[in-house]
């Protein structure tokens, strides 16, 4: 297999020594079938053990290795060197504070996940122990694409509204909330909407659509958010009718 020499320009930041982040260049011999994550691992193992970055599964299911590759939020295990030019700029995920090198502070989004009631809510009495909640395949496929989110936060890196105002709840949380709103087993839609269709929720989205374009799992959070806006608008009127409760 042929080796291709890639010039990587990697953002470095040592909070104990650096005032501002800087770029460090590495020349990496890459195999044809490598992902850019393999190039980073090569650097870590052979050139510079001080490089800090997150990664885990190397197969696009854990969401750990999200970074900016030539300005595009990407999973580095899914971005292949064959699709990249000879010079590659690698930076930590945009719109997050930098902890160290390519590691970002994710606390803000973690808190948002916890705020949003991302679990099945039942209002009826629980069924007897020997029965199940059945769900047809059609009902499953209604929300299945939104279950694919691996929490990589590439969507937050792409979203200009989150960049301008980090109080925006953001694409991943809203897409996951929509996953529960669409689940036939769930009865918590109006409670969820009360939280997510409040200020800083769906209405902060201006449908730029960048989130869906960068999502490595094709979750399409932009679609989820627009559908939630429709739901929110309808729910607002429903709550104003006699008998509706906020």
């Amino acid at each position: 297999m042929s080796i291709r020499q890639l010039e990587l320009e990697v953002m470095r930041y040592d909070p104990e020594q650096d005032e501002v982040p800087r770029f460090q260049k590495y020349s990496v011999p890459c195999e044809e079938d490598w992902a850019i994550l393999d190039a980073l691992n090569y650097i870590k193992e052979n050139v510079d053990t001080t490089l800090a970055y997150r990664w885990s599964c190397h197969m696009m299911v854990c969401g750990s290795c999200g970074m900016m590759v030539n300005g595009e939020p990407s999973l580095t295990c899914k971005t292949f060197v064959r699709d990249l030019p000879d010079r590659v700029r690698i930076e930590p995920l945009e719109n997050f504070p930098i902890e160290r090198d390519l590691v970002v502070v994710q606390d803000d989004v973690i808190e948002k996940f916890q705020k949003a009631n991302l679990y099945i809510v039942r209002k009826d009495d629980p069924p007897p122990d020997d029965t199940e909640y059945t769900q047809s395949r059609g009902a499953l496929y209604k929300f299945k694409q939104y279950t694919m989110c691996v929490n990589c936060m590439c969507c937050y890196a792409a979203c200009p509204q989150y960049a301008l105002d980090s109080s925006f709840i953001g694409p991943a949380v809203l897409a996951l909330a929509h996953r529960y709103n669409l689940d036939s087993r769930d009865q918590g839609k109006s409670d969820r909407l009360n939280i997510l269709a409040d200020h800083d929720g769906v209405w902060e989205c201006s449908f730029v659509g960048a989130c869906s374009e960068v999502c490595p799992k094709s979750v399409d959070p932009a679609a989820a958010i627009q559908q939630m806006k429709v739901d929110g608008a309808i729910e607002w009127w429903k709550q104003k009718l006699p008998g509706g409760k906020p």
């Binding site: 909070p15 982040p21 606390d107 960049a163 659509g209």
Partner: protein
């Protein structure tokens, strides 16, 4: 958390220049100026109509100059590209149609929008006596 996480600054006024995706979004958003302009032009037309035949004819004449020809021609093209066609492209996202286990493909919904648009446009042209 480290002693000093670094927050990268972002320009609140020029962030959209960073890539083509953001620039196209801004070009789409400013179509609201065209929508507002034509709404008020229509309201001015209604006022002229309410004023009688002379006022209405002055209104029509006020459009008949090189400036207004350019404004309408450029607006029409810009509006079609950055408003109508973009709106149709995004419409399927807000209106998923589930058929059994499968979802209606987005392009069917988009094509449906174009077909409806053609019918509506032809209808209005017919109402205006353009199609004789």
């Amino acid at each position: 958390m480290s002693s000093q996480p670094y927050v990268r600054p972002i320009s609140k006024t020029t962030w959209y220049m960073r890539n083509g995706r953001y620039k196209r979004y801004m070009l789409r958003e400013v179509t609201c100026l065209l929508v507002g302009f034509y709404c008020f032009l229509a309201i001015w037309g209604l006022a002229a109509l309410a004023g009688g035949p002379d006022h209405w004819n002055s209104f029509l004449e006020s459009q008949q100059n090189l400036l207004m020809v350019s404004v309408h021609a450029i607006s029409l093209i810009y509006f079609l590209i950055y408003m109508t066609f973009d709106w149709f492209k995004l419409a399927p996202k807000a209106m998923p149609v589930q058929l059994g286990e499968k979802k209606l493909p987005d392009r069917i919904i988009v094509i449906g929008h174009y077909v409806a648009w053609a019918f509506i446009s032809l209808f209005v042209f017919w109402l205006a006596g353009v199609l004789t």
